[in-house]
């Protein structure tokens, strides 16, 4: 256990339309066993002690699963540790005397609410458009009726591991949401239960995504930033299904 003395440069912005700027805050005596957000908790306690307003940041479960926390830390989404959300990043990854720049997610589709908090509801709109299997409560058949090969179930699980944090969008130079959308679509499109709506799902989700986000140009930054290390292979799968949907959906409609 060692103590770190750090200089934080934190983005402060009073509201969605207010101008923002960096605040320089000295964070002295930070125990390196702490998580990054516990460090911010302490900084906030000290700000309140000084009669100043605490830094607003989104966070909740603090175990890397709810996807609420965010933060660009020294320009990297969720900071320097690979496969780790900010809440599980620990101060041992930083060194004494370091300057740490802390910013909110940067993307037009994620407007700033206040300080480091952004509005990610565009993700919800994508899921509402088609990120589901129509399976109303009560009508399900026995769960073991349809065997699903383990590799298929595992691949669906790999996609389903997405926590919806938005790091992929924040890391992308185009602010594209293709990794998020493809993870959501592929999770369902890989499973036998998801086949009935496979093409209508992907078309609706991609079209909604394009209402909010930029286009993917295969930089691969999203995969590097993803705290769940979701593969960009899913983007390829989604693109294949999307292309197919443009033919298949039309063909199905023509049968009416």
């Amino acid at each position: 256990m060692t103590d770190l003395n750090l200089t934080l440069k934190v983005w402060r912005q009073a509201g969605p339309d207010a101008p923002g700027s960096f605040d320089t805050i000295e964070a002295q005596g930070i125990n390196d066993e702490m998580s990054f957000l516990e460090m911010l908790d302490i900084v906030n306690e000290r700000l309140i002690d000084d009669g100043k307003e605490a830094i607003v940041f989104d966070h909740d479960c603090r175990e890397g699963i709810c996807g609420t926390c965010s933060l660009m830390i020294n320009g990297q989404a969720h900071g320097p540790q690979k496969g780790t959300a900010t809440c599980q990043l620990h101060m041992r990854k930083f060194h004494d005397g370091q300057e740490i720049v802390i910013e909110p997610w940067r993307a037009t589709a994620f407007p700033i609410v206040k300080d480091l908090m952004v509005d990610r509801s565009a993700f919800d709109r994508i899921v509402e458009a088609g990120g589901f299997i129509t399976a109303e409560t009560g009508g399900a058949s026995d769960a073991n009726l349809t065997p699903i090969p383990k590799p298929v179930a595992d691949a669906a699980m790999d996609a389903a591991a997405c926590i919806g944090c938005g790091a992929c969008v924040a890391a992308c130079p185009n602010s594209a949401a293709n990794l998020f959308t493809s993870a959501k679509a592929s999770h369902l499109n890989l499973l036998p239960q998801g086949q009935a709506e496979r093409y209508s799902r992907v078309e609706a989700m991609v079209d909604t995504m394009e209402d909010f986000f930029g286009s993917c140009t295969n930089h691969g930054e999203c995969q590097e930033a993803c705290p769940k290390e979701i593969s960009i292979d899913f983007i390829a799968l989604m693109n294949k299904d999307y292309l197919a949907s443009k033919f298949k959906n039309r063909r199905m409609l023509s049968r009416k």
Partner: protein, 638 residues
């Protein structure tokens, strides 16, 4: 207060079927004439909102999160129980019912638990149909594992993130209903008050967390699915924002609060690394399937784990409970760890943990099998502690985790306020004095998908043709005014101490006096200390910023204010329950071997507290518990 549990007549296996047939129905064409408010969008709330929306009701769903997908149900790791008997090891609805009643130390209602076991099998079918990627065998069928308190394999799981996958299933169904316009979602909105008009729930008052604006919503019925209150301990596995406010505000409006002293301490959390840390990370109980728990035999043994030979290790759970061993129920395993640490045998830099050792399992099964089962948990552990569980044993220690107590509800999940329902962890109904592992997800989903959508029509049917009370009704106006002045009040105090500093101090009192072991003396002391601290809170609180934009310090102040009142009722409940049962262990009531000693003659009842206007002086009502099917016995895991 009269507590009518409304348990249907008939043999236990027929009660739910009979109830579903006998209840009043609302015909599909009439459902759109009803408005229903659901607060909370976790497993219980999200499932209820989605299902009610599918059935055709107008639903308004509220969450203080930015998205319904973030509710704390998401953090459950290990799995969900269901009496599918896919493993052919003799499981049945009756066995799951029996295990749950026994695991709850005979303090739950038989009829509710039986219904839960019945619905458990439907949950797995429903979730699979939605695309929840449960773990599978190579043949493509679903895999199971075993969990604490059971001797059969009945736990379904999705890697180490069963909670997230089930919640994503719920969220996808809820999102579909939102997209279709059947459910209106209000995110970043926190419940501040429940409004009751002429003795029935009329609606709620919420605060917009982005603008501070206070607004009312009315409906024919209100469902609270707002989770548990473990954060009263400050140190807990709950998400940072979990709080008791919704349940507590309902309590202050007439809903009885049942068994608040039944709190569960989870045996396998990563020990605190420094004093300031409040959130403890849980390591799934499923790890106890393959990990062996031990502490050094001697308190002076400061050698690293790998240098302590077998003969100097005490596998205390295997020693004390040979038949259940490392899979003893949570309350038993937690208290056993407390005993070791209090004897000075704790491990780690702060001597605040015990070992959970996988070396035997790795030798037996190979590292790749262990990685397959627990890989992501091991990674998480290493990220937090910088130690690899493949090489050195994990250090674990118990931490407050789940609360079995909650709003009193009858068989229909209705609180003592007509038209106000509570589901999931927010109610008290199914786990008695201790919850078994992998049963929380089961209860949340059973309540949300299958119970509430059936029972609510019984209340709604006679209300056909009525409209919800308009929100300009004086009761709504008064509640809104009170909510505004409450938050202005916190800002106006202008004292010296932050909400967190009070929370920390309250948590310390609760953990030491109302935690794993309770005494009359300690509880009496706590009942003096808590109101005194609450008084200081009212005088010396400091909230910086304003009430017109996002202010997380102000949000915390409101939640902690309510925790102060709850804490007093918890201590009163623990003080008046003169027995030990499940998560409630009174040091005065134990056997010579240190096991919990129940008093069925005097305490086989639910204690439901009634608000009187003074948190230190509520009325204790009781609902007797009868056991017609499960024989009351000393719970033994030896």
């Amino acid at each position: 207060m009269e507590l009518n549990s409304k348990i249907p007549e008939g043999p236990i296996a027929e009660k739910w079927t009979n109830y579903k047939f006998d209840r009043k129905l609302v015909n599909p064409a009439n459902r759109r004439k009803y408005d229903i408010i659901v607060v909370g969008t976790g497993l219980a709330g999200g499932a209820a909102a989605a299902t009610l929306g599918e059935q055709g009701y107008n639903v308004k769903a509220f969450t203080f999160h930015d998205s319904p997908r973030r509710a704390h149900s998401i953090a459950a790791q290990g799995g969900i129980n269901a009496a599918k008997n896919y493993k052919g090891d003799g499981d049945s609805i009756y066995r799951l019912f029996y295990d749950t009643v026994k695991g709850g130390d005979f303090r739950a209602r038989e009829a509710n638990v039986y219904r839960l076991a019945e619905e458990s099998v439907n949950i797995i079918d429903q979730a699979t149909a939605q695309g929840v990627p449960f773990a599978r065998e190579y043949g493509g069928l679903l895999d199971n594992r075993s969990f604490g308190g059971a001797q059969v394999s009945r736990t379904f799981y999705a890697r180490g993130q069963t909670g997230q996958q089930l919640l994503l299933g719920v969220y996808s169904q809820l999102a579909r209903q939102i997209g279709l316009g059947n459910v209106a979602l209000y995110n970043r909105s926190e419940l501040i008050d429940v409004v009751v008009v002429d003795g029935e729930a009329a609606g709620i008052v919420v605060r917009d967390l982005l603008t501070g604006e206070v607004q009312s919503h009315s409906a024919h019925a209100v469902v609270l699915a707002t989770g548990g209150y473990s954060n009263v301990f400050f140190l807990s596995t709950n998400a940072m924002n979990c709080n008791v406010t919704a349940a507590w505000r309902a309590h202050r409006r007439g809903a009885a609060f049942a068994n608040p002293c039944y709190t569960q301490i989870h045996p396998t959390c990563i020990p605190q690394s420094d004093e300031f840390q409040s959130k403890l990370t849980l390591m799934s109980e499923s790890l106890r399937n393959d990990g062996r728990i031990w502490a050094p035999k001697s308190p002076d043994d400061n050698r690293p784990a790998d240098q302590i030979p077998e003969e100097d290790r005490d596998y205390y759970l295997e020693r004390r409970y040979p038949s259940f061993g490392n899979l003893a129920p949570r309350d038993v395993a937690s208290r056993a760890a407390l005993v070791e640490v209090e004897k000075g045998k704790g491990v780690g830099p702060l001597k605040n943990g015990v070992y959970l050792d996988f070396s035997d399992a790795i030798n037996r099964l190979g590292e790749h099998v262990i990685e397959e089962r627990y890989g992501n948990l091991f990674e998480m552990y290493e990220r937090i502690t910088d130690e690899s569980p493949y090489k050195t044993p994990m250090r674990i220690y118990p931490a407050p985790h789940y609360t079995m107590g909650g709003l009193w509800v009858d068989y229909e999940l209705m609180t003592s306020v007509p038209g106000l329902y509570a589901t999931g962890e927010a109610n008290f109904s199914d786990h008695g004095a201790n919850r078994l592992g992998a049963s929380a997800l089961m209860q949340g989903l059973a309540d949300g998908y299958f119970v509430l959508p059936n029972t609510i029509s019984n209340y709604l049917a006679p209300k056909l043709g009525t409209t919800p009370i308009p929100t300009d009704h004086p009761e709504f106006q008064a509640a809104e005014a009170a909510a505004r002045s409450r938050f202005e009040g916190y800002l106006a105090i202008g004292g010296t101490r932050s909400p967190d500093s009070f929370h920390h101090e309250l948590g310390k009192i609760m953990l030491s006096q109302c935690g794993m072991e309770r005494t009359k003396e300690g509880l009496t002391q706590a009942l003096q200390d808590i109101p005194a601290l609450h008084e200081e809170f009212r005088k010396d609180l400091r909230v910086t910023g304003d009430g017109e934009s996002t202010n997380q310090t102000l949000e915390k102040a409101g939640r902690i204010d309510d925790f102060f009142e709850l804490a007093q009722v918890m201590c009163l409940d623990a003080l008046t329950r003169e027995e030990s049962c499940g998560g409630h262990f009174r040091a005065e009531h134990q056997t010579d071997e240190g096991e919990a000693e129940r008093d069925d003659e005097h305490f086989a009842h639910v204690a439901a507290w009634e608000w009187t206007g003074d948190a230190g002086n509520p009325i204790r009502n009781t609902e007797p518990l009868t056991f017609d099917n499960v024989h009351l016995a000393v719970r033994s895991y030896k």
